[in-house]
């Protein structure tokens, strides 16, 4: 079974984010690049499936990123993935969700797959749209926001998180799932994993190598960022003072009733 995990390289999540007003894009220079933390859950989910399935199951990391990110991709290999495919091409720079999903889909189809696992979103642009778009271009069922995942042969069973609870979903492979943070606790790369990752293959392909037959990148983007604004600061809350807890609670309930909130 071939499991592919899509990952993104993002600016260090603890660093302050700055937007370049001329390009309306995130400033990535001078900030350390890391593996998108959400994707670590996807890698862990893939590794657990591989450990359970055994046999000839492989886990391949797929990313659209500059070649300079190779060492970060190696971290995913250190966690235990078998190999990686990097689509690195200056022409991909500035791709929107459509361009990225299309390019990844072409590369994944060319590589062959049974299951694609993605994180729910990235910590930089945070659109959360990629898994859905990717499933569409791959032409397979897309099961998003998965908190529990089981595989029995080619029968996939999942629990999808919803606003009010969860939904049980089942489908057959090939398929795509995106996983949430509640699905597992990603492992640390072990020392042996780190050492072994040096010997694993990271194939680097251009867009043409990967079978991407349409232009992507900023010029071909189908969406445009027209304006960016910092969210307004939250207004001051209202503080109720009261002699004791009961009096305080009463005041709060009155306040909520006036606004017909309770």
């Amino acid at each position: 079974m071939k499991i592919l995990v899509t990952v993104k390289l993002v600016p260090d999540t603890t660093a302050e984010k700055r937007i370049d007003p001329s390009t309306k894009r995130l400033v990535r220079t001078g900030v350390e690049t890391v593996l998108n933390p959400f994707d670590e859950y996807a890698i862990e989910a893939a590794l657990q499936l591989k450990e359970k399935a055994g046999g000839d199951t492989t886990v391949t990391i797929v990313t659209l990123a500059p070649e300079s990110g190779k060492e970060i991709v190696r971290k995913a290999l250190a966690m235990g993935a078998d190999d990686a495919l990097m689509i690195s091409d200056p022409a991909a720079e500035g791709s929107d969700v459509w361009g990225t999903a299309y390019a990844l889909a072409q590369a994944i189809k060319k590589n062959g797959f049974d299951l694609v696992i993605a994180g729910t979103q990235s910590t930089d642009s945070t659109t959360g749209e990629l898994p859905g778009a990717l499933a569409e271009y791959l032409g397979v069922p897309g099961v998003t926001y998965v908190r529990k995942l089981d595989l029995d042969g080619t029968a996939l069973k999942a629990e999808r998180e919803t606003d009010t609870g969860y939904a049980k979903v089942s489908t057959d492979l090939p398929a795509l799932v995106s996983v949430t943070k509640s699905i597992n606790e990603p492992r640390y790369p072990s020392l042996k994993g780190i050492m072994g990752a040096k010997k694993k293959t990271i194939a680097v392909q251009t867009l043409a190598d990967a079978g991407v037959d349409k232009p992507i990148g900023s010029d071909a983007a189908r969406t445009e960022v027209t304006n960016l604004e910092t969210p307004p600061a939250r207004g001051k809350g209202q503080i109720f003072e009261a002699a004791d807890a009961v009096a305080g609670a009463t005041k709060i309930v009155e306040f909520l009733r006036e606004r017909k909130l309770v």
Partner: protein, 393 residues
């Protein structure tokens, strides 16, 4: 020595290792270490995470299930633990005590123990050498091991035996012949044994914890008629002193790295604090009286670190490094202490408050000036053996 750095700069592999250890340590923050400190408890969860990730088996050759890395890499692991505000003392010995077994043990001993040590199933992190009446004059130890058929019968008393309550095996140095057995060689007559603590009958080993100023498990060990199988003798009888001496340089380098880690912890915390703390309408870091002690400690620390990396490079190349390893420990322990004092001054009263972690690491880092060897003994070594001045003792 380096792939893409200049001189002693870390290689890209070492940077990857550093980042990975840093990430692991990031899950064990000040709250974790403070709670242990308060209860004087052993960091079980942290040691398990390190063991599971394979870091404590870094120095064990690959053929025995370890990673076969050098002291340079092992020292990075310990530096990062301390730099995160943690303390390596709970587990650093699991990394290096096995060195005596690896270098001088028989094939059968190595096959029997090293793979299990590499997997973390066997903990060999206690080393019973020091005795109350001998101190640093190790050749004067009086614990005896007398051969009786297939066993050695051990009697005596050890002190400052750390982690014995969290070990399965203990390395023991004991006297197997009278102190004057070879008048020309006063180091003759000591032997090294691997003691299986799990099978020691109650009464043969009496472990009494010593409460110290920081959270560190150390003990007095009273040994009465403890039978150690003769097959657990390491190397040749009578030559044990040499076997433990040649592990010392590795230990010194690792300890120097821990000191560097402590020092960087203090400096990182101090710089952050003095840049943020505003008094008299400006950040206190703007005052040179605050800035200079931190800058000076940083300078001392970086200097010590260069020597530590030089010592590690020499050690890993199989070259003599007694001066470099010992001096790195001397300078790094002093620089860490200097940084600790600078951090306390910079934080003012808050430095003494537990929740800032400064006072805890300050207590912990003080030990390195005294142990595993007192800095004055390193000065004696430099004076007498490196510079050729007369012997003091």
């Amino acid at each position: 020595m380096t792939e893409n750095g200049v001189g002693l700069e870390p290689t890209s592999d070492q940077r990857v290792l550093r980042d990975a250890v840093r990430e692991l340590c990031g899950s064990f923050d000040g709250t974790y270490w403070r709670a242990l400190d308060e209860k004087r408890a052993y960091p079980d969860a942290f040691v398990k995470a390190l063991t599971d990730a394979g870091y404590l088996a870094a120095l064990i050759p690959e053929e025995y299930g370890g990673s076969g890395l050098g002291i340079a890499e092992a020292s990075i692991v310990l530096e990062e633990i301390n730099r995160s505000g943690g303390n390596s003392a709970a587990c650093h010995a699991q990394m290096y005590i096995m060195g005596t077994l690896l270098r001088h043990g028989s094939d059968a001993q190595k096959q029997r123990y090293l793979p299990a040590i590499a997997r973390g199933e066997l903990r060999l992190q206690a080393f019973a050498v020091t005795e109350p009446t001998a101190g640093s004059d190790t050749t004067k130890i009086s614990t005896t091991a007398v051969r009786r058929g297939d066993v050695y019968v051990v009697n005596g008393q050890k002190v400052w035996t750390s982690r014995v309550q969290h070990s399965d095996l203990m390395l023991l140095l004991a006297r197997t012949s009278a102190p004057d057995a070879d008048p020309k060689k006063k180091t003759f007559g000591l032997s090294t044994f691997l003691v299986d603590l799990r099978s020691a009958p109650s009464g043969a080993l009496d472990v009494r914890p010593i409460r110290t100023m920081m959270n560190h498990e150390t003990n007095e060990v009273f040994i009465r008629d403890l039978e150690v199988p003769a097959e657990n003798l390491i190397g040749e009888e009578g030559h044990g002193f040499r076997y433990i001496l040649d592990g010392m340089n590795a230990e010194r380098i690792l300890i120097a790295a821990e000191c560097v880690g402590d020092g960087r912890f203090f400096i990182d915390r101090s710089v952050k604090y003095v840049n943020e703390r505003v008094v008299f309408d400006r950040a206190i870091g703007q005052n040179q009286g605050v800035q200079f002690p931190i800058a000076r400690a940083h300078a001392a620390l970086e200097g010590a670190d260069v020597l530590r990396r030089q010592a590690a490079a020499l050690f890993d190349a199989g070259r003599p490094c007694g001066f470099e390893a010992n001096t790195a420990k001397l300078l790094a322990s002093e620089a860490a202490w200097q940084a600790g004092n600078a951090a306390l001054d910079a934080h003012g009263g808050y430095g003494f408050a537990e929740e800032y972690d400064i006072e805890r690491v300050f207590r912990e880092t003080r030990l390195y000036i005294t142990a595993p060897i007192a800095n004055n003994l390193i000065l004696s070594f430099i004076g007498q053996h490196v510079l050729g001045m007369p012997r003091s003792f």
